[in-house]
Symmetry: C2
Subunit: 108 residues, 2 copies
């Protein structure tokens, strides 16, 4: 029950984090998943539906590239609309985080 907090916390934030990662350079899902797994414990099964959604929403575009080790990688690249989404999501995040901090108050 307690560990479900972390699961729930991720919801909504993961997309923003992926956008932020991509803003620093194109990347492919498997690598994104690895980084996110380390940072916030994201599972691999999460990334592919997420990337698909983001592509459908026009936030990213894709291209294939050979890798030398394993199957070809599908790279994701931020679109302008994706960059805008990142900006607005970051500001929403900050508002939210500030509100939470205020509620927690001295409980920290």
């Amino acid at each position: 029950m307690t560990e479900s907090l972390q699961i729930q916390l991720k919801k909504g934030v993961l997309e923003m984090c992926v956008l932020a990662l991509l803003s620093k350079g194109d990347n492919y899902a498997y690598d994104i998943a690895s980084r996110m797994a380390e940072a916030v414990g994201m599972g691999e099964g999460t990334i592919y539906p997420l990337m698909r959604r983001m592509q459908n929403d026009g936030l990213v575009s894709t291209y294939l590239q050979e890798s030398g080790s394993g199957p070809p990688r599908k790279y994701y690249k931020l679109t302008k609309s994706g960059a805008n989404a990142l900006k607005s999501q970051v500001s929403e995040w900050i508002v939210f985080e500030t509100a939470v901090r205020k509620i927690l108050g001295d409980a920290t």
Copy 2:
């Protein structure tokens, strides 16, 4: 689609916030909902299932009290287990928030 971010963000955090509010004094659902609605846009329909869950989990206990205006209020009071849950959730939150901040990096 963008507004779903805020919805998703709330998941998991609301329980912690309610615990934090209760740590400052007993309160009843309707008032908690009003405060949370102002702070993070929580809907009223969210609070009752949440309080029920928290009671089932032994995080809060309840008692009734007349109100003079409307039906009697059902006050919620933090249990020891609830106070412990608050502490651990807050530290999880801080870890999480730090991780997110790190990923966002200079995107802020």
